[in-house]
């Protein structure tokens, strides 16, 4: 009740150019409440040296009840998490404009802000929300981009992420990936977990939703290209089997399982096939399953371990991990010809490779000095760089725009999720409130 009242007061003073620090206290309270209700809490641990200063003004809202989400705060957090922006604290803002006529560029120049985002939220006829936004170049005193997003009554955060995507793209030239999701696995503790869960959350960790719970291991979630389904491995029958589950309806299907390994499902770029690992013919080999015809095609044939398939951008090649050379390294097979070539040569343990959206970078797990790090190999230059310094980093998953890599690591003996930018400059942790979390899978763009 009190929060509501304070927010209304805050909204009233949006038109006042000078205001007390009182409102900032109110906002802090509101945000801590919303952060408390989330499942994952992001801690930015490292950013770029000179992040671009930006101000996201609280969005105008004239409804009679307080909104349960603060859209401007969602945008602020998204941009900060990219590591490339530093957002201006609200307590320092001299005014809260929500339309162009109210913007006094000199004030923002005075605050050394380079860019400014303003906007407002209104309800729609169908009971949902519509959000208008505008991005300004403070120096040039001109609008860069403006637009409008609409959604249902539970979509305010999603609308905020859409604005973040638009702002990010306008300022960096790279399509934003804030309005995406992550799938991940959680367990209650490390030894004999009493449960394993498959969850899906927004890319910032909010809105976590349980997809599956089991008392046996769940592994290797992989998104369908339209981001509506997940393929994963579940041991619920005491043996591994691959399932495909619609994340909205919960409806699921078990892929015909074979004796031995049924693992590492990976959706092809066109969505028609699922690459997977089966050991029905003796040891771990890569296969592709045509989802329509259910036809299974064997891709690799070697007595060594072949696993962790991942598709090239054009769907013509499959990257995989193999120890056919004695130690695990990343190879690539051309599906049409069966031609296999080795991609990694540096170090004696390189595994779980996947490509960025442009096919230029190979993201992988690499062991150096007995420690497992996330690494990136520039396929044009052939150089490998370590992105992380922690010791048990695994399951790297690249954002659909190639900007960030989410992975799992251990902090204080607990598995947590973390992310690092593809250049290694930006890092943030996403610790879970309970248990251990691992195997993040970053979704494709949502439709």
């Amino acid at each position: 009740m009190r929060v509501e009242k304070v927010i209304r007061m805050t909204q009233r003073i949006t038109r006042v150019r000078f205001f007390s620090v009182f409102s900032s206290a109110a906002f802090t309270l509101l945000f801590s409440l919303s952060a408390w209700s989330s499942n994952l809490v992001i801690e930015i641990t490292q950013g770029v040296d000179n992040p671009v200063p930006i101000a996201v003004v609280p969005f105008q809202w004239s409804g009679d009840r307080a909104l349960n989400e603060d859209v401007a705060q969602v945008i602020d957090a998204d941009l900060e998490r990219s590591g490339q922006f530093k957002s201006l604290k609200r307590s320092l803002m001299l005014s809260f404009p929500f339309q162009k006529e109210d913007v006094y560029f000199r004030d923002w120049q005075y605050l050394a802000t380079e860019y400014l985002v303003i906007g407002q939220v209104v309800t729609t006829d169908t009971g949902g929300f519509q959000v208008d936004y505008q991005l300004f170049d403070v120096q040039r005193q001109e609008s860069i981009v403006s637009g409008r997003f609409a959604g249902g009554k539970n979509d305010l955060r999603a609308l905020g992420h859409s604005i973040s995507d638009a702002v990010y793209e306008a300022l960096t030239g790279l399509k934003g990936a804030f309005r995406t999701r992550i799938a991940y696995v959680a367990a209650d503790k490390k030894v004999n977990p009493s449960y394993y869960k498959l969850l899906v959350a927004d890319s910032d960790g909010y809105n976590a939703k349980e997809i599956l719970k089991s008392n046996q291991p769940i592994m290797s979630p992989s998104w369908s290209r339209d981001a509506t389904k997940l393929a994963y491995v579940s041991f619920e029958t005491n043996r591994p089997a691959i399932y495909i589950q619609d994340i909205t309806t919960g409806q699921r299907e078990r892929i015909k399982s074979f004796k031995g390994i049924n693992g590492a499902p990976a959706w092809s770029p066109d969505g028609s096939k699922l690459a997977m690992v089966l050991s029905k013919d003796g040891n771990a080999e890569i296969y592709t399953l045509d989802l329509a015809s259910k036809r299974l095609t064997r891709v690799t044939k070697h007595y060594g371990i072949d696993t962790e398939p991942s598709w090239s951008v054009d769907g013509k090649n499959i990257l995989f991990t193999s120890d056919r050379g004695g130690k695990p390294q990343i190879y690539q097979v051309t599906l049409e010809s069966g031609w296999v070539e080795r991609l990694t040569f540096e170090g004696d343990y390189n595994a779980r490779g996947s490509l960025t959206h442009d096919g230029r970078f190979l993201v992988l797990v690499s062991r150096h000095d007995e420690q497992f790090h996330i690494a990136v190999q520039d396929l044009q230059r052939g150089t490998m760089a370590l992105l992380t310094k922690t010791s048990l980093d695994e399951s790297p998953s690249v954002a659909p725009n190639g900007s960030m890599v989410m992975y799992s690591t251990q902090v204080g003996g607990r598995d947590i999720l973390a992310a690092v930018s593809i250049d290694g400059k930006v890092k943030f942790n996403i610790p879970a409130n309970e248990g251990v979390v691992r195997e993040p899978a970053w979704s494709p763009y949502l439709n």
């Binding site: 030894v191 390994i261 690992v277 696993t307 962790e308 991990t321 797990v365 497992f372 048990l392």
Partner: protein, 218 residues
């Protein structure tokens, strides 16, 4: 002939004794003669009785002997059956005991085989246990096992699934070479998903790199 005579004697002596008794009740004049007659009759009766008893005894003895012989035969047969049953029971119990003992012996064998990092070679120290399992499995065709392969937390998860399976397969091959039917063995790899020790020191990791021999049927 004798029997007729005997009955005649008995009849006459009883009659004499009766007459004598009658006269004695009414008359006291010839008391001694009556007593004498009774004595004679009694003696005669006694003799006759003894003779008759001897015959009956003979007959009874014969019958008893026959019955005893029959009973003996019957008893012998019964005893034989019981003994056979007993023997069979004993043998079964012994077999069960032996099986139980073998089962216990199999249970007492090491059920966890440990491996080096990224290795699936069976170390010499685990051969005794595996030989024991192999012996039990070859002697008990109904027995079935699952070999659960595991890896430590280092390395990637799906690679560790393959590694766990490779370890399970190494144990399976060893058992098959020792004479175990391949049909009695199933290999399931859990990779690094089900550690037994949550520590990250080398001793903890070593405990997690294992194959567990799990009997699904003894």
């Amino acid at each position: 002939m004798q029997v007729v005579n005997l009955s005649k004697i008995i009849a006459s002596s009883v009659l004499v004794a009766f007459l004598a008794a009658c006269s004695s009740t009414g008359e006291t004049t010839d008391a001694s003669a009556s007593a004498q007659a009774a004595q004679v009759a009694a003696e005669a009766a006694s003799l006759a009785q003894t003779q008759a008893d001897a015959q009956a005894l003979k007959d009874a003895q014969a019958a008893a002997a026959a019955a005893a012989a029959a009973a003996l035969i019957e008893a012998q047969a019964l005893a034989d059956a019981e003994a056979a049953q007993q023997a069979a029971d004993n043998a079964a119990a012994q077999l069960a005991a032996q099986k139980q003992q073998a089962q216990k012996a199999a249970q007492a064998l090491a059920h966890v085989i440990y491996f080096d990092f990224d290795q699936s070679t069976i170390k010499a120290e685990f051969r005794t246990a595996l030989n024991g399992h192999a012996a039990y499995l070859s002697q008990n065709p109904s027995a079935k096992i699952v070999l659960e392969g595991h890896a430590d937390e280092r390395g990637t998860r799906e690679y560790n699934i393959a590694l766990g399976e490779r370890r399970g397969n190494a144990v399976s091959r060893y058992l098959v070479v020792q004479g175990v039917s391949i049909g009695a063995i199933e290999v399931v790899s859990f990779g690094e998903e089900r550690p037994v020790n949550s520590g990250s020191d080398s001793a903890s990791l070593a405990e997690n790199r294992r194959v567990e021999v799990r009997y699904v049927n003894y």
